[in-house]
Amino acid sequence: MPSLSKGGGFRDRQVFAQLQEYITQVVCTDQGGAASSAAGEVICWRGSELHLLQSITEQPVDCLAFSADGQYLAAGCQDGRVRVWHDLDLVITIEADQWIEHLSWHSSRPELAFSSGHYVQVWDVAQDQVITTLDFVESSVLDLAWHPVGDRLAIAGYQGVKIWQDWDDDPHVLALPTSTQAIAWSPDGKYLALGNFDNTLVVMEWGNPDPWIMRGFPGKVRALTWSQIIKPATAPLIGCASAEGVVIWAKDKDGGWAGHLLEGHIEKVNAIAFQPASLRLASASDDGQICLWQKAKKLEQILPASPEAVTSLAWHKDYLLAGTSGGEVIKWSKSTQGFG
């Protein structure tokens, strides 16, 4: 086990909520957060006041996301429905015919994109009407992400990514000889990172026809996160989860990307997330361990989260949230005296 640096100090562990099954997602806003389970439950909270938005349905909720302003919460479920809440009230239920596996909100407008099979629908939630339906064609949609500042919608699946800017135009296609299962825009919107089945990471710079291809991963690149902070590199850092490894990529002065492996996990890494406005990275694995990495380099703290797998992570400005396969939603806050 690598030695730990000082600091970190996330010592107050609290089981914040206990749901019936596997936590499929935890998400945060400035005001609070939400979590969903494979039993179909959806909870949300503001401060410490917990609300049950949806009780057990036996139909797993696969995806959960707050709108950019934090006003709406959307959940996509295996019963083929997307439900949208506003101030704890269910305001819209959209029906599709297949599992809803991914959803993403527009960066400023109350517009929601979600996938169902190989289609993606875009809804205007304020008007409760469909804006467009996109067909990925090549396969089921494996991920989707709305650009953090603009109108571009990226959709991933078999043979790479398609990016729509204008619904009536053909999408921009980044074709790969594999399937892309995870995508993430950098917070400045300049780059799109693609995690692929063939153990590669591809990074596309908008306007640059030649993407970078990073190899040498121990397995498929299953999860991605970007830092909000750019220093010390010339672009935000990319964190990747692949098998038992966490790999950080930083853009160097020569325009290339350099990677380094963070060693600390013994089992498969399921989730990673940079703390907002920081280079602190959290990574969580199948054996229930969470590692905190100082400046995306040095292992500063190991949080023994759970005897079960940690399946999802999210940062709030004051705490770290983790969901487990046993249905626990766990919260770590900094203990006041331990800090430093």
């Binding site: 596997y22 494979a38 399937s179 397995g219």
Partner: protein, 320 residues
């Protein structure tokens, strides 16, 4: 979570109308006390098979088709990943590759994908053949591949052809795929113990090759698909064999559907067992050779247009 038990997976293939649905219904109704999840790889015949599947304690999930490895992998991970999250999960998974689909990509996915490899155990590829209609479909690439990939072949609808013809048919199929167990059936009537729990892909069971086949040197070679087997008493050089297999799969991997081997390496006290599909394989050191056991290497390939002499020559270069 290393301690999790692996869930067995049966891949069910067969030409349209061969009797897959009948077999699937039997699995669902007769697997008492087991929760069986079924994934149907829809391929053209939307809904028809679906309605015929009887209700038991099962759930059916549709894949969004596709016959290319990566796409199949994406869909399998998507569906199976979701299934595995449920606490009241399932005890067995049956993947039906409907109609014309080549089972190769589905089987390969279990070799390639780390998540599926960890959580699932590929039990067997079961191919259902319509004994009468196969006579008209020998040329079909898919029929040939379904036979080549099979661990168990049900020669179904045996009532429709005379006994002598059935015997010839059985021999012909066995000559194409020497590793498969071939059973004549009527209405897919077979003891489910013969098709479930076979563990044909488990390395521990990798080598149950019919000794008859290993010692037989002449086979019908009119078929595009054939099996080639060797035995060798002289120990092998591990490095040479690795190099040979690597080069062989690189050049001919597309035509080699299945292969299995148990090897006697010079200087090793343990058996080395391996098996693979196309370019992918896994292997490991197995138990030690027993004192009363004939220390010999055995190797079987099933593929398209395999040149037995060329393979034998290549293998011959690997002796220590």
């Amino acid at each position: 979570m290393v301690s999790l038990q692996q869930i067995p997976v049966t891949v069910l293939t067969g030409y349209l109308g061969a009797g897959k649905t009948t077999l699937l219904n039997r699995i669902l109704t007769e697997s008492h006390g087991q929760k069986v999840a079924v994934i149907i790889n829809e391929f053209g015949e939307v809904g028809i098979d679906h309605q015929l599947v009887v209700g038991a304690d099962e759930e059916i999930f549709e894949m969004n088709n596709g016959c290319i490895c990566c796409r199949v992998r994406g869909d399998l991970i998507r569906i199976i990943g979701n299934l595995l999250r449920r606490r009241r999960g399932f005890d067995r998974l049956v993947i039906e590759t409907t109609g014309l689909a080549d089972p190769g990509p589905v089987v390969q996915t279990f070799f390639v994908d780390e998540d599926l490899r960890d959580r699932l155990l590929l039990d067997a590829v079961v191919t259902v053949v319509d004994a009468k209609h196969i006579q008209r479909h020998w040329e079909s690439k898919e029929v040939q591949e379904q036979l080549a990939f099979a661990d168990v072949i049900l020669l179904n609808k045996t009532d429709l052809i005379p006994g002598a013809e059935l015997e010839l048919l059985s021999q012909r199929i066995q000559s194409m795929n020497a590793l498969a167990k071939v059973y004549p059936t009527h209405y897919a009537g077979i003891d489910l113990g013969q098709i479930l729990g076979v563990e044909a892909f488990s390395l521990d069971r990798a080598l149950e090759i019919d000794p008859e086949f290993l010692h037989e040197h002449h086979h019908h070679h009119e078929e595009d698909i054939n099996s080639v087997a060797f035995t060798e008493l002289q120990p092998l050089d591990e490095l040479k064999l690795n190099r040979w297999i690597g080069e062989l799969l690189e050049v001919q991997g597309g035509d080699i559907f299945r292969f299995k081997g148990i090897l006697n390496f010079a200087g090793q006290e343990e058996r080395f067992v391996f098996q693979g599909v196309h370019m992918l394989f896994n292997g490991k050191r197995d138990r030690a050779w027993q004192p009363d056991e004939v220390r010999q290497s055995q190797l079987v390939f099933i593929g398209r247009n395999l040149d037995a002499q060329q393979l034998r020559d290549g293998f011959g270069q690997c002796l220590a």
